[in-house]
């Protein structure tokens, strides 16, 4: 029997609709509801309630059926998910399985997704760095993509606003390429990491090794306690969901906050098919949704729509939002929607050993993971054959070496009486990639998914400059390692596919000019002003930073703009 409430247009009308409940969608929900707007959050997956729906969170390793390992059958069925570092027995329930949600790889691309309330904010690596002026100026200075329509000064106050609520552990390092933020105490570098920091500080002007900045409550403030979150307990089991709320996720933070206002309606199991457009008013009127349980098609209406479906799904929804006025997708007169997709190049690692400072080891666990080396390449001027640069994760640890060679009591002794290794040094590269028109996504003309939504084609690849940046990473890091007295320096290509970095960006890029971009400086579609895109799809370039903090700051700023525009009657 039809639901009377659902049948009523009035009951399906809100002030704002937010598509997606990940990190950026959660922020849109919080900001809209706090500002008094009746807000509908649509999530295609199931609900995940903080703590209650973290089934593995308190399990000991021996309580996991396969001690964390994925089964052979699962690896065969879900090769894409299994290539993700975080896809393990304790977290697999938060990942999309390959065959549940197919897409078409015109070139090999690992699309990693979290279809549930909270999205990938449950699973993210929690590294949070601000962009700098150099990053926003990059495309204009170096002549690629298009000029960002905003600069650091536009977003800086919003970074601060978001950081205070999220809780970011970090040190005020005074590094121009990585502006300082509103920090909780940092997780200090360990002895070997600190030694590397000092070496680099002394020998290399403009290069820095800092404590990794991360969304963990190293010292919760009243605003975090009010969210129901307490101090991070250094479990480093974050991908299970944290019962302490020690790291930021939509589920632990923004969504319960939005719920408290009484203005939030959360609707899981709601796949957005398309955005509805009214050519008379030149505005979007709402969204068409498929209920994944009933397969019913429903329409919901609002004055303003935020698209936070995750980069590629945001592209998909806009491409699928066709009308008489926009036959090629909403706001897509220039044909650039779905193009200039970019990502981060994670294809390189370096390991080494260090025999100094053996009077120290580590105790407990570091949720920040160790150190971070901000990009120092081509910052104030072009110095290499390739454009832009790379950042690096950096860490050191001492391992307990267990002799597994013996049999019987020898083996037992070997296992139970480990020896402490020297310092093992590890690093991986996070390089900028250059957005290109040829890296793109589009809709299939015939094939549809279970909800009648066309399948997405993905054609995204590395280019030669990606290998030049990688070589530079190897060269520079090896030299710095040698300067620090590290030995046994080993570089290792990591042949991961694009997408495996889980930093896909672009396709609905921002810019000044409607002819060459889709979004204006406020994240509004140039051609449909009450539709905003503030997830990774809006990115004009990628820089080297982990992007989530920037999406959250963009979202808070854009909601502020949208609410002001609504008050002025402009939307």
């Amino acid at each position: 029997m039809a639901n009377i409430a659902i049948d009523s247009v009035k009951d399906r009308t809100f002030d704002a609709i937010v598509i997606g409940s990940g990190a950026s969608g959660g922020w849109a929900a919080k900001e809209f509801t706090e500002k008094g707007l009746k807000t509908l959050v649509l999530e295609r997956g199931r609900d995940v309630v903080h703590v209650k729906d973290y089934p593995t969170t308190n399990l000991y390793p021996y309580e996991l059926e396969h001690r964390g390992e994925m089964t052979f059958q699962d690896r065969q069925r879900n090769p894409i998910a299994n290539r993700c570092y975080a896809y393990r027995e304790d977290s697999a329930h938060f990942f999309v399985k390959d065959d549940e949600h197919p897409y078409i790889q015109d070139k090999e691309f690992d699309w990693l997704r979290g279809y549930q309330v909270g999205g990938k904010s449950l699973l993210w690596a929690r590294q949070t760095q601000r962009w700098s002026e150099y990053d926003f100026e990059g495309p204009a200075r170096d002549g690629f993509a298009v000029d960002w329509p905003i600069r650091y000064a536009d977003i800086a106050p919003w970074y601060s606003y978001v950081e205070r609520f999220v809780g970011i552990a970090g040190n005020k390092d005074g590094v121009a390429t990585l502006p300082d933020g509103e920090f909780l105490p940092p997780y200090p570098l360990n002895a070997a990491e600190d030694h590397f920091r000092k070496t680099v500080d002394n020998r290399y002007k403009g290069r820095h090794v800092i404590s990794a900045r991360c969304a963990h409550l190293s010292q919760p403030q009243p605003i975090h306690i009010q969210q129901g979150r307490v101090q991070c307990q250094n479990r480093t089991l974050c991908q299970r969901g944290c019962p302490f709320g020690g790291y930021f996720s939509t589920n632990s933070s923004t969504l319960p906050w939005a719920q408290k206002t009484g203005n939030l309606t959360l609707r899981p199991f709601s796949v957005v098919h398309s955005i509805l457009y009214d050519k008379e008013t030149g505005r979007a009127t709402g969204v068409k949704v498929v209920d994944t349980n009933t397969k019913d098609e429903l329409e919901f209406y609002a004055q303003v729509i935020f698209v936070n479906a995750s980069t590629l799904n945001t592209n998909l929804i806009l491409l699928n939002s066709v009308s008489e006025r926009f036959p090629n997708g909403l706001g897509n007169d220039n044909g650039l929607l779905g193009k200039y997709i970019a990502f981060h190049n994670y294809t390189a690692r370096i390991s080494a050993e260090y025999d100094g400072l053996l009077q120290y080891k580590t105790d407990g666990r570091n949720p920040a993971g160790g150190g971070y080396i901000p990009n120092f390449r081509n910052v104030t001027r072009q110095e290499t054959d390739f454009l832009r640069g790379w950042a690096a994760a950096f860490g050191a640890s001492r391992q307990e070496l267990r002799d597994t060679g013996g049999v019987g009591t020898n083996l037992k002794d070997g296992l139970l009486q480990p020896t402490l290794s020297n310092w093992r040094i590890h690093s991986h590269m996070m390089a900028e990639t250059i957005p290109k028109e040829s890296n793109r996504v589009w809709l299939d003309n015939n094939k549809k998914d279970a909800w009648g939504v066309p399948l997405l084609h993905i054609s995204v690849a590395y280019d030669d400059s990606d290998w030049q940046r990688r070589q530079d990473y190897y060269d520079q890091m090896s030299e710095m390692y040698e300067a620090a007295g590290f030995t046994n320096i080993q570089t290792a290509d990591d042949n991961r596919r694009p997408g495996n970095d889980i930093h896909e960006m672009g396709g609905v890029r921002m810019g000044h000019d409607p002819k060459t971009s889709l979004l204006n400086k406020w994240h509004q579609l140039h051609l449909c002003k009450n539709v905003y895109v503030t997830d990774g799809a809006c990115m004009t370039s990628t820089a080297t930073q982990n992007p989530t903090l920037t999406y959250m700051a963009f979202t808070a700023r854009a909601v502020d703009h949208a609410v002001n525009e609504l008050k002025k009657g402009n939307l």
Binding site: N58, Y60, P61, Y62, E63, E65, H66, R67, E69, M70, T71, F72, Q73, Y187, P188, L189, N190, A191, E193, D194, Q233, N234, R235, L237, L358, Q359, Y360, K361, T362, D363, G364, R365, N366, P367, R402, T404, V407, G408, T409, L411, K412, L415, L416, L420
Partner: protein
């Protein structure tokens, strides 16, 4: 530890796999439910002696007490490829024959010292079936041992909630 109770505990922990106590078993099948491996009661007994030889009971529990033979079977059954599984079953038979030949009696009837000495010779046997089987068993036995509740709560303590980090901890 009462074996039957222990089996139930293990399988409860392992996710509630169905199990029948030995006295109710009609065939001579293994006592845990396996989807892919075909393992007889005798195979299971041999594997039990094998894990006990690898990690013997001393003043603390060994492979038998910790039911590591079930763990090995569970992991090979669920996490290994069909090729591996075939190599495992073949290797188990090869091990039975080889140990009988080397010891002049069934593996289980040899004393711990003889069995330990025998396992030290597997690598030199030059028999691929044997070495790959033994490699699988040893790796999974070590994993099961180190990740057992006993070891993790008594010998190499696993902290679920460390609540601290010190990067300059004196050795």
């Amino acid at each position: 530890m009462n074996r039957r109770a222990a089996v139930r505990t293990l399988l409860y922990i392992a996710g509630g796999t169905m199990v029948l106590p030995a006295c109710f078993r009609e065939s001579r099948k293994a006592s845990i439910a396996l989807a892919n491996l075909s393992i007889s009661e005798a195979d299971e007994g041999l594997l039990e002696e094998l894990v006990e030889t690898l990690v013997p009971a001393t003043d603390n529990p060994g492979g038998k007490d910790l039911l590591l033979h079930f763990f090995v079977l569970k992991m090979v059954d669920d996490c290994h490829s069909p090729d591996d599984q075939q190599a495992f079953t073949k290797g188990l038979a090869a091990f039975r024959n080889w140990s009988q030949k080397e010891l002049g009696k069934p593996f289980a009837e040899a004393d711990l010292e003889q069995r330990t000495a025998l396992l030290s010779k597997v690598a030199d046997s030059g028999d691929d079936e044997l070495t790959s089987f033994y490699g699988m068993v040893k790796r999974r036995t070590i994993q099961g041992y180190m990740n057992s509740q006993y070891v993790m709560t008594n010998l190499v303590k696993y902290e679920l909630i460390p609540g601290r980090y010190n990067g300059y901890f004196p050795v």
